[in-house]
Symmetry: C2
Subunit: 419 residues, 2 copies
């Protein structure tokens, strides 16, 4: 098994440990920032590393359309394409395809849909979703599921769940037959050895003896961007199953049991944050968690606010992702230890305090609320960049603190649930 | 005199040295990136420092409209407002106001104009432009001039030059009477001493003894963003004069002579890059340079391509600024040792080479052309950020290399032109 969870400490239902992946270990519980198109909007990979991001999420639907799977595959997979050698997870594309309400048609075979970009026709099936995700080469990939709409009646919820279960089995079958086709696996292309010289002073150099300074380019058209190390041969991705079942706890129990019967190295709770009340989300998550294997990773998809990620981590969720910190940041909505701040407000125009006086991020250490407010009001690009850095830091710090809390007072059942 | 040029080496007409300002020394010849609204679009001040930027340009017209001069002044001046403690230069607002062709009315008193944002009426005079620039507090500020349009007949070019000369004298008079009102000068507000704790793990912290992890904000609403050091009391800004005269070398000579008679610590060549052919720009620059004092800084405004900045530095220009590297970057046009690259082109879609194999910038060390092309094609924010970092690096590296070339073989007249 290429992906597994090493639980080191538990406290109540919460567990702290490490998710072991082909591209390194990830401290859990973990919040995974969303890098839809192979980029967390506005943030360079250097900054993500500095923020302590150990795993990023990419969106299969978007990457499939742009730049296209064949391009990413030829470039050595998503890690190498985006120059990110830590862990990656891709979703199956299902959630995005199902949100194209007017542009899709579902059958047992799969989903026919039209691109939101140009209306071009496409078809995703469990097998196709696996092929794409194997070729993208994330460390963790997700089964192709149907995200049941909300509300859905009992019959519809069951039919949707059954479809997801049939697709899950097909996903596993295809994956087992093709898992060594991952770009960094046994058939991986050889990584180039050469580095571009790091200390290079600049893009051009002059001949200092010449009367006229001239460009003397040290051009080497075959120079790679940087050396790249692939995981050991034989490593494969981890394919996670997804529990559906709408808002019915009994269907959720059945979905969990039958997905576990198929057998995956990790399980996700899908089909939430689709418009239902927050209390209902919580009820479904808590009841579903009871039916998931204690020793394997549990991934709650698409959740949530800082309070929610802390709450669900305490309830025993190991992995979460959400566009909220990054999307809210681009709209000037910032999370702080004193609550949410809408930085566009005129009250901050001459406020020289840090955005969050309790925060140690690059933004709060350097800039005032007044400057951040000005950047946002003037529609400066830097507003989106700085706001995103802060919000990501806030989410990551929330999880760091939660992990420390779990580890601060381990209780006696640590050994029981550890693997 | 608060701003002066220390010429250390000459080679032909070119000079290498240091521009001494209240906020540090600047290696010359220097290219100054443009930070119109107190931000180089998309680039954090940390990154500018890492790139080696020692002086930035701000646009008075834009800052006057947003966030407004009174706000910047109350925040301690532009340096402190934008958290930049290296040198700054502001233009006078004249160039921008004159480009509002349909929204302005010029008289001897000044220029009435309407905001490009909301059409609100405003008035700029030499005195007002000085007041604004003193309150913004850049190290180098510019006289309020009329940028003569191109083409202009002899009568119009002379009238415009005479107006600029009358305004230059009024600028100097106002500046001398008010120069101690600079925010960081003798009347500067006291800089706060306290730092926000640098090593802070995050924005929130949990009480590890509590059964429930809770936010325990270390909020201190009065915490400043960071300590700030002002220049020594008594330091003032440097007000530079601007030579106009259209495309007439004799008018340019007269403008230079009479501007020098008024007396400034540095001189700019204005009124170029207004639509004239490049050869004409060059002729006017070279002939005007002959009439400027050898021992004082010479600033060529709004120029140009990498080839032009190298050429003009060789001709004896000490300071240049241009929006080209940053604006072109945002449009996917990149400067490399192998020429210009339009990164949107499909030919780069699977090109895994560095953008410029001879470049040592963060972007070229890490990312491939294929990734940069994808980011641009997908309209990802990060495209604008990374492209700007590269282009700025290219310009700054060009000037670094040129300074090294000047210093590599000093000729005998170094002492003659040094001050």
């Amino acid at each position: 098994m290429s992906v597994r969870l090493k639980i080191e400490v538990t406290r109540g239902a919460a567990r702290a440990g490490k998710l072991i992946t082909p591209h390194g270990e990830v401290e859990t519980p973990v919040f995974m920032p969303v890098g839809t198109l192979g980029s967390v909007k506005g943030i360079s990979q250097d900054v993500l590393e500095e923020l302590g991001v150990e795993i990023l999420l990419g969106n299969t639907y978007h990457l499939y359309l742009r730049p296209g799977v064949e391009t990413v595959r030829q470039m050595g997979g998503l890690h190498r394409f985006m120059s990110w050698d830590r862990a990656l997870l891709t979703d199956s594309g299902g959630f995005q395809v199902f949100s194209l309400t007017d542009l899709r048609k579902v059958s047992d075979e799969g989903v026919a849909f039209r691109s939101h970009l140009d209306g071009s026709p496409h078809f995703l099936s469990p097998e196709k979703a696996m092929e794409i995700q194997i070729w993208l080469g994330a460390d963790i990939i997700m089964a192709f599921d149907e995200c049941t709409e909300y509300p859905a009646d009992a019959r519809r919820a069951r039919a949707s769940m059954e479809l997801t279960l049939r697709w899950a089995a097909r996903c596993k079958k295809y994956f087992e037959e093709h898992k060594f086709e991952v770009p960094w696996g046994g058939k991986a292309r050889v990584a180039p050895d050469a580095f571009v010289q790091e200390g290079s002073a600049g893009c051009s150099s002059f001949d200092t003896q010449s009367a006229e300074p001239r460009l003397a380019g040290r051009a080497n058209a075959s120079a790679p961007t940087r050396a790249w190390s692939s995981p050991a041969n034989g490593a494969t991705q981890g394919l996670f199953g997804i529990v559906q079942g709408g808002m019915d706890v009994e269907l959720r129990r059945e979905s969990a049991a039958r997905t576990i019967d198929i057998g995956f190295p990790g399980y996700a709770i899908g089909g939430l944050s689709v418009g239902e009340p927050r209390e209902l989300t919580r009820d479904i998550v808590l009841s579903t968690l009871e039916h998931l294997p204690a020793g394997q990773p549990r991934y709650l998809m698409g959740v949530g606010t800082p309070e929610e990620i802390a709450q669900y981590a305490q309830a025993g969720v190991d992995m979460m992702d959400c566009v909220l910190p990054t999307r809210a940041a681009r709209h000037g909505l910032l999370f702080t230890s004193e609550g949410k701040v809408s930085i566009k407000q005129a009250r901050y125009a001459r406020d020289e305090n840090a955005l969050d006086p309790a925060c140690g991020c690059r933004v709060c250490r350097r800039y005032s609320r007044a400057y951040l407010r000005h950047l946002y009001a003037a529609n400066e690009l830097l507003a989106q960049v700085l706001n995103t850095v802060h919000n990501l830091h806030y989410y990551l710090a929330t999880m760091r603190t939660l992990r420390a809390w779990i580890r601060a007072e381990p209780d006696s059942d640590a050994k029981v649930t550890g693997v």
